[in-house]
Symmetry: D2
């Protein structure tokens, strides 16, 4: 049997932070790696302990606990959130169960980290925000897991925008391009069914880019005009799923979510934005691309080269100006002083280590962590406006506030 | 005094093709370079002769004639099109005079090459198409100058799409990003006044990318949903203009065109498209970027690296697949067998050499050159739909046919 | 107190593999991360246990043990290798102690993993090879830690060369460029003293690229012609060191190693090679760049973009050929089926996870792991020939066998 | 019949500069394009006139004259240099005839532009320098055609080094990689025979990179250590040649030049350099890559992306530093104020336009143009030292002065 994994050493003066995680698939594996590693790298005020993991299949969750280093395994999330040895509930399930688990966990006196998107509907998200606000009165904190804020390059981008290096923003353009649905024989996983996933590319990829664009820009969208499409409407039924891949079983079923979502948008500052989320961009594996153009400078980022940030300083002499590739691996960069020497890059999973670090600090200090459930709700409202606009012939649709 | 420039040698069996050009600024210089060079590089059935150039200022047009190699200079375009020694009228003026000159030139029995956009309004463009169709009965040919079809890399892209290498198209995304208006003190040139330019980024940059995207994709858009914006509404009055730059004089004036235009669109095949045209993308100098994703492959192009085409073959083994940089300088590539050895790249101006080549061949063979005035009108209709959608709260607006 | 970290779950049928590590600085941290993570990701026949770590300063090693998850701490490496609960000794100290520790550990019946370069001199390395050969008779295995063989992209490169995709090799060019010594005020760390480091860029960076180039090419160099240089011969004395950085204390001292080493070389197949190792390439942080050109294809790699491998298939039609960027994150790629979905990249530290994986498998199966101490000795002989050539006016110097 | 081509208009106050060109193959076509275009773009003090071209085959040279715009055609270079209407002799023949033609042309009172390499041997080059020095007394000027100094990006690089932006140089690394000899069936052109070409990659590609590296660095190499190789020693005999390609005829012949040359070198300042010239780098079409690292900054250039210069400013904060891509198309950049708006790139052929511009100015002003025949001789001495070192087991060989 695996021992409980602990992070951080003697410098932690506060009690350990005991984590209970619900779900152990792709996101569960990534969160586990984050919890296991964070205290080995960062100085933390509380030491995370991987107390218990929860899943419906007893043998599978037991194996996952052993594999990922969780001390105990549960098969009912209600039992998990009832455990005395759990301080924080980390929700890594599909979106249709987020609201119920999060509200119950908060009611049970736990802190909560909830994977994105916060919920499948605005109504669910509103309930979660209410629960989080009440819980905060009691000292419990809730955060939504938009991990791409924790890529050092995107955190640096945010810092540079906040420092005024871009000046007044004119343009934000963001795409999140993947290609795992190009093959019409790819099977119908839960991600392609509205009842589980809420939406398709929109909730999965679009939620990420809406949050990231708003975070880096430092303002929230005021309205959108959208087109969505489902290219392949019938797919083979799926049986086993691993990561984003799956094996087909007999029969076919309906795809009930969007395959792609495009929308233009306005920021209150006057900046224009464009968004595209799709799983049909052949050859693009994880191309979350963000570009901001401001009166004084520009930034560009591509998640397929996550250790880099491209920056143009518009105040330089034209004779020597140009987009520069900042290799975001210097100790001066966000999160980097705890890692390897310059040029020794990080990977995707480190966003979860950084997310864990930031959450542990917020909880130890009694501060609201970012992004809050309210931030998650606001993203949900953007997605709802996208769907509404798409249904209404792309008419410009304000974001509810 | 400069001698008339001639291209091509003894192999030309047909009579020379005597060109008269109206306008001699940025576009006029580029067209001149095209006409002077084409017969030095390509075997042509008719030898282009730079017969006469026309501009309003007698001294300036005389100097331009000397500089660029035109035998004669005229100060009235009506005189130019009346000349017996002109077979083809090449229109390089701002959009507000295209219709009048083109219709008159066709009426005078000349072939016509007209810079893009074809006209400032759909109505003007329709009149030009009618004139072109009548003229064609008489053997005269008309073409619109969408020169970016003549970049070897975009011509290769078109060929690859036509060969079926991308399979069914899913996505087309195109941006044309420049930054020469970022500075609010940049003066008010004719390009910023609706009465001369028709529209702003939309007609200047947007026309290019609408034409190019449709050309490469091999189909025409069915509808659009658009946002446009004028970021800086008042600018210093301009005095002298060189290329895209200009010096300020006293006073200010209204910018009456769009600074940026974003639109999403649908193709009849079901593919989704997104377009962005702006002159406020700090650090982007000429970033006409085109990406197409199809079921079997993808292509990407950036005018800032115009000798390259990026191609992903989706039918390859995932173990070895990836976007490849095709250096489009091989004799197997469009236009390239007449140029330098592999790896010895071409530049922007060569698009005008290639345009001249294709037009000379079409005229010599009595074929309709591409793109026709009808193609130019169709682009104009897309731009009109963009403006209509932008005025109507971004509602999805079908393209008139 | 930290619990001993364990990896891998119930599937491990063989006894745990208990690791004792000597040294806990940069390399120690990286190895710790490898040992902690490997069993969480890969299915392993033996479960690694972080049994004990060793360093000279009792408080510091205790803190490092807590931080990195080692159950026990020792202050004398002789005590560490004498422990019954250690099966494998992992040597992460500077090169001057490698030979003594490794020979003793093997004599004590342990398996050994030794950081590169294997030793500071050929003589030491020869002694280590003898010890390893004797130990192997007794079932103990020894490996040298050239971790860059374990980047998925370099492992893929090796596989592609072995498959014949490059055909007959003509050229290999390799550089390893860093810039942390550009500032002449950077202090004199142990890496700049011959008695500790053996050599400078040559042993630190040059050893990596000699091993990697030979590994990917599949053959060993036959001779070299070299230039070396020490640009800055006197530096401030150092006090504290972290990663590759350090703080200065009073006084100055002599740099007694090379700052840069350049050499050309021949492979027995007739291919030519060039090598450059330097810490003075301003702006290059970790630019280990490898390019191979063969009669049928070419490969290129840059450690600053470690998730990518560039490949040109020379057998394709020139019309569509080009260097393609393989994003080495597919399940078909080496090590990748255990990690994240395509496009979700790995980082530097994962090379140590993969190294641990390969070593555990070799030990469990009683196979000699690669690279062996003999491979490490051969690299040492190349470095010795480089130094000899540099001393002898660059004359071509065969590699001893 | 083609009219004589003239460049530049009424602003030229001095008499025309009448050019006679010897040779009309690849280099002749490129020079013709330069002479025809230069006065159309740049303001020049003397107007170039394409007076006469010379080749051995009467019909072919007549066709070339028509094609490229030369007024007259000659079949004997002695007749060409005897013409009264020729002021400048432009030598575009293979290297074995450079010395004889240049010395005779200077003796005949002409200015001379001679293609690189200046000659096939040091002795020939010395004779040419003597002739040029004597001629200069009489007011005639001689220049060697290292056209890659006239890429705007390399000229910018030179300017930035001269401004001190790199500080003290530490490293220069240069490669010139092509791949047109990879196929062992590619025929034996004159470029593969020592009696015509002098050497192989070394004289063709190596001469370019030696000149360019020295020019940008601002100093001349002091010594070299070299390896050369001929990979394919027997090839089919060639018949027709076009550009760098050729068709095979019956039989085979010996390759008597090097296929590849690698050398390391030292600059007097203490900087180290490495050079590689090859025609066997599969997939590299024209990869002249230059990188300089100095104490304060670095530059990198690749001829396959000739409109770009990469620059790292080492004095910036590490938080925002990075290699920037300067798009060398701004009016602030060398040669660019005469061309197109920013972002509208130039191509290979424009180096010849710029070369013509610089030469016309120097002649009009009575100044020695750069690079002089003495510069060409010095490059020849570097190549000779490379050959000597390669013959003497790579021993470090000083450059003669």
């Amino acid at each position: 049997m695996a021992q409980p994994q602990q992070s951080a050493g003697a410098e932690a003066e506060q009690p350990p932070l005991r984590v209970g995680m619900v779900g152990y698939a792709f996101m569960g594996a990534a969160h586990s790696q984050g919890w296991r590693t964070v205290g080995r790298v960062f100085d933390l005020p509380r030491r995370p302990v991987l107390a218990a993991v929860c899943g419906r299949d007893a043998a599978a969750v037991r194996a996952a606990a052993d594999r990922h280093g969780w001390a105990a395994a549960e098969t009912d999330w209600r039992a998990l959130i009832a455990r005395d040895d759990v301080d924080l509930v980390d929700i890594c399930t599909p979106g249709d169960s987020h609201a119920e688990i999060a509200v119950a966990a908060l009611a049970a006196g736990k802190h909560v980290l909830c994977e994105k998107p916060l919920a499948n509907t605005v109504e669910e998200a509103e309930a979660m925000v209410r629960a989080a606000e009440e819980a905060r009165e009691r000292g419990q904190l809730a955060m939504v897991g938009f991990n791409y804020r924790r890529v050092p390059a995107t955190a640096l981008a945010r810092r540079m925008v906040a420092e005024g290096r871009l000046g007044r923003l004119r343009h934000v353009r963001v795409t999140y391009l993947q290609d795992w649905l190009v093959d019409p024989e790819f099977p119908l996983t839960w991600r392609l069914r509205k009842e589980h996933a809420g939406s398709g590319s929109l909730g999965d990829l679009g939620a990420h880019i809406v949050d990231l664009a708003q975070y880096v820009a430092g303002e929230q969208l005021s309205g959108v005009s959208a087109l969505t499409e489902t290219f392949v409407r019938e797919r083979p039924l799926a049986e086993a799923v691993k990561g984003l891949s799956a094996a087909a079983t007999g029969g076919t079923g309906q795809v009930t979510v969007d395959d792609a979502a495009l929308f233009t948008a306005r920021f209150p500052s006057g900046a224009l934005a464009s968004f595209e989320a799709t799983r049909y961009a052949t050859g693009r594996k994880n191309a979350l691309r963000l570009e901001l153009n401001g009166e004084r400078g520009s930034l560009a980022f591509d998640l397929e080269r996550l250790n880099e940030l491209s920056y143009h300083d518009g105040t330089e002499s034209p004779a020597h100006a140009g987009f520069r590739r900042i290799l975001v691996t210097e100790p001066e960069h966000p999160y980097l002083d705890a890692w390897w020497p310059p040029g020794h890059g990080l990977g995707y999973e480190h966003t979860f280590v950084h997310q864990a670090r930031d959450l542990v600090h917020a909880i130890a200090e009694g501060r609201q962590p970012d992004p809050s459930f309210a931030d998650g709700l606001q993203v949900q409202r953007v997605l709802a406006a996208v769907e509404e606009s798409a249904e209404k012939n792309s008419v410009y649709t304000p974001i509810a506030v």
